[in-house]
Symmetry: C2
Subunit: 171 residues, 2 copies
């Protein structure tokens, strides 16, 4: 699957192996992520008149049809509670999410997508996936899979070495 011969770029890299390899890898990871995020953000604005934080919040709610506590939602989004509350309020006013009371504790509230919110998210998510597919076309299917495996190993190490909250994302 992976070519066994060494490309000139890899050979060059091997010679630099000890020179800041970890830092250079991290900066490139950050750079790719930022490039893609900025594009997603710009397309969401131009095609759906929405923002990345709104889309991300709806994406998390779409994964939990029974709803989520705000604290859990903040944790999944890895951002502060204040932002999450503000966005949730706006989405609630637009009828895209709703806060529901729990029978077992009348003071507790969960937030979930409304039917309208689900429909809106599904439409955006399908288009979003076509953007991502286009932007990742620079890598073959096999290269994408290999990248996925390498990132999985990195993520596992990060979660094991954290000692703090791990994300419950299965991705």
């Amino acid at each position: 699957m992976i070519p066994n011969d060494v490309s000139p770029e890899e050979e060059h890299l091997a010679s630099l192996a000890d020179q800041h390899q970890a830092l250079r890898t991290w900066l490139r990871l950050l750079s790719c992520t930022t490039l893609i995020e900025n594009r997603v953000s710009s397309r969401l604005r131009s095609e759906f008149d929405t923002t990345l934080p709104r889309f991300d919040l709806m994406a998390q709610l779409a994964r939990f049809p029974e709803g989520l506590f705000m604290s859990k939602l903040s944790q999944l989004l890895m951002v502060s509670g204040g932002n999450v509350t503000g966005i949730t309020d706006t989405l609630e006013r637009e009828g895209l999410v709703e806060r529901i009371m729990l029978p077992e504790d009348r003071r507790a509230r969960k937030v979930r997508l409304t039917a309208k919110g689900h429909a809106a998210f599904d439409q955006m998510a399908a288009v979003h996936e076509t953007w991502i597919e286009g932007w990742l076309k620079g890598l073959s299917e096999q290269e994408q899979q290999h990248l996925y495996v390498l990132l999985g190993k990195l993520k596992q190490h990060l979660n094991e070495s954290s000692g703090s909250i791990s994300t419950s994302s299965e991705i």
Copy 2:
């Protein structure tokens, strides 16, 4: 360098190849980046009483000793001009950056690190690199190099397919 045999994980992945591979790869890329960014952010706060946007701004200036125009700085940081101006103002008050007048155009200003700013950044950057090295230890040297090559290919495709501003980062 790269094993030619297929691991069970890769085999499993190959069978899922057509099921949202691009999306899953992107989400994992985003997830790794966010995990590392959050850690950098938290360590910068606890160990240097500073923020990631301040660190990133100083990191860009450190690459250009002759100074940068604000517009170029905003572009390199891939964030809006407003934030960059605010952070620059604060760093200037703290004596870490300075705005310099250009002999060829007295109305134009570039911003650059002061000697104090350079010293402060160098100290943070060295410690920052040890954090990154630790967090990337989940991957072997060869895996880090392979990740670097794959991300380079992805980044090249992103820049070629953009038709808009490319980042001038060499990473």
